[in-house]
Amino acid sequence: MSFLQCKSVSHAYVSKHDTKLVLKEINLGIDEGEFISFIGPSGCGKTTLLSIISGLLNQTDGDVILENDVISKPNDKIGYMLQQDYLFPWKTIEENILIGLKIRNKLKEKNKQYALDLLKEMNLAEVINKYPGELSGGMRQRAALVRTLATKPKLLLLDEPFSALDFQTKLKLENLVFDTLKSRNKTAILVTHDIGEAIAMSDRIYCLSANPGKISSIFDIPKELRTLSPFEARHHKKYAELFQTVWQEMDRLEN
């Protein structure tokens, strides 16, 4: 059985005036260590799906199973990174990255050291006592990554983590995140609008169509690209080909 399994996951948002079926029968399986991307038109339910997998939102139907456990509430094994960094502006970077451990009552010296080491690895050691407001966008996003990784989740959910960054910073962070996750053999699900990013970073791409959101196609990334760093992958010739294919699929989905 896969590391993570979604079984016939459906979700409908019910409001006073109508009920909107946002996700319809999502079935997927992800193995440990895989890097998966979801792409799809705006509003197709990507964030909803991540929320369901993370246990923050309870689906209307179906099951999410992580290592044989049914997920129905936030779980230690899962880390979730939002679109913007959402660092707490009133806490220093140190307090920010330790908040997860604090909440989980795991603020032992060993875990703390792990978080601080991560911070160092991300080249953020010297800003440890600064406030988020004093950092650049890229640094903040890196700090947010440390915060998420500090609790040692096995599965990482990344909801458009790079969309608020400028192009160069984004390319650099892609590499960094890719390396960090691969070296720790983390499983990851990335939501993005950027087809290039999806191709460059992941092992498999799920294309979602909208209204209701369902998996419309799956692209396996060629081995040649998988082993390359995202930046290198972007300049491989297979990248351009795949880009065209996915682009057309997306175009079709949007119209």
């Binding site: 079984k7 006073k16 079926l21 029968e25 179906g62």
Partner: protein
């Protein structure tokens, strides 16, 4: 287990619309139930408050002379209504409040515009504005009476003066906080300062101005009531003072309740206007 899901999944597709409708129905039902519960609770609180009041007054747990009781207040209300005097009192206070409110808001906005138009003037007047703002305006009552005489003018002036400085400050700061890129857009078209004000600054701050209205209505009530405490022949504040004078607490409490009702109505009215006017304003 997998087969169960498959099955379930299949069944689900077939029943899709039905299932969704059912979800919706049970949700709406839950909502309605909650709403009814809330209404019920509110009603219970309302009723038990007045019932308790009536009871404790009747049983002399509280002094009925000081706290009167609801039944007496209601009968006094109808009595006054029949006499027709209540309408006059309410009318007078309402008019004073509305005048004070409109005066305060418009003068405040105009002052804010003047401050905005001249940076130098704004800087010069800054410390004075701070002092005027911090000053508890109700203390000026005697001065108003001396300046405007003991009559409606003083009361309306009190209703206006209490809100004018805070309006000036809030609206001026809104004027200054307009995203300068909007003005930049105007300037690329060669707009004058006045054009920028008319087309960008003022409409951009409209929501703020309307929001100050909500605060100002409340302030004007305070000003008018304090004004009526000091000088008046008519009005709800007068009724309170008069009620005290003749030790008629039923009258005092009746006036308080009527004030609460009308202040709330006016506040709600401004809120409705606010919602209407701001609807198109908000950027998504």
């Amino acid at each position: 287990m997998q087969s169960f899901f498959k099955l379930f999944g299949r069944r689900w597709i077939v029943l899709k619309t039905e299932r969704l409708l059912q979800l919706q129905k049970s949700y709406v039902k839950k909502l309605r139930k909650e709403k009814h519960f809330i209404l019920l609770m509110q009603f219970v609180i309302f009723l038990s408050f007045f019932a308790l009041w009536e009871l404790s007054s009747t049983l002399h747990w509280i002094d009925p002379l000081l706290f009167s009781k609801p039944s007496k207040i209601i009968s006094l209300f109808f009595e006054k209504l029949a006499e027709g005097t209540m309408l006059t009192h309410v009318g007078v206070t309402l008019l004073e409040t509305i005048f004070g409110f409109l005066l305060g808001t418009s003068i405040g906005t105009i002052l804010a515009a003047i401050l905005w138009s001249s940076n130098l003037f704004a800087k010069v007047s800054d410390p004075y504005l701070v002092i005027l703002n911090a000053m508890p305006k109700v203390a000026l009552g005697p001065i108003l009476i001396v300046s405007f005489g003991p009559g409606y003018v003083s009361i309306i002036a009190m209703g206006a003066i209490i809100s004018v400085i805070i309006t000036t400050l809030v609206v001026y700061s809104a004027f200054n906080n307009v995203d300068e890129n909007y003005v930049k857009v105007m300037k690329t078209f060669g707009a004058t300062k006045w054009q920028c004000f008319k087309e960008v600054i003022l409409p951009n701050c409209f929501p703020t101005i309307i929001s100050t209205l909500k605060v100002n209505v409340g302030l004007s009530w305070v000003g008018v009531i304090v004004g009526e405490f000091l000088v008046s022949q008519k009005g709800l504040g007068y009724l309170i003072i008069y009620g005290f004078q003749v030790f008629n607490f039923t009258l005092v409490l009746l006036s308080l309740i009527i004030i609460a009702v009308f202040a709330t109505l006016m506040y709600k009215l401004v809120e409705v206007v606010e919602h209407k006017l701001i609807k198109n304003h908000s950027n998504s």
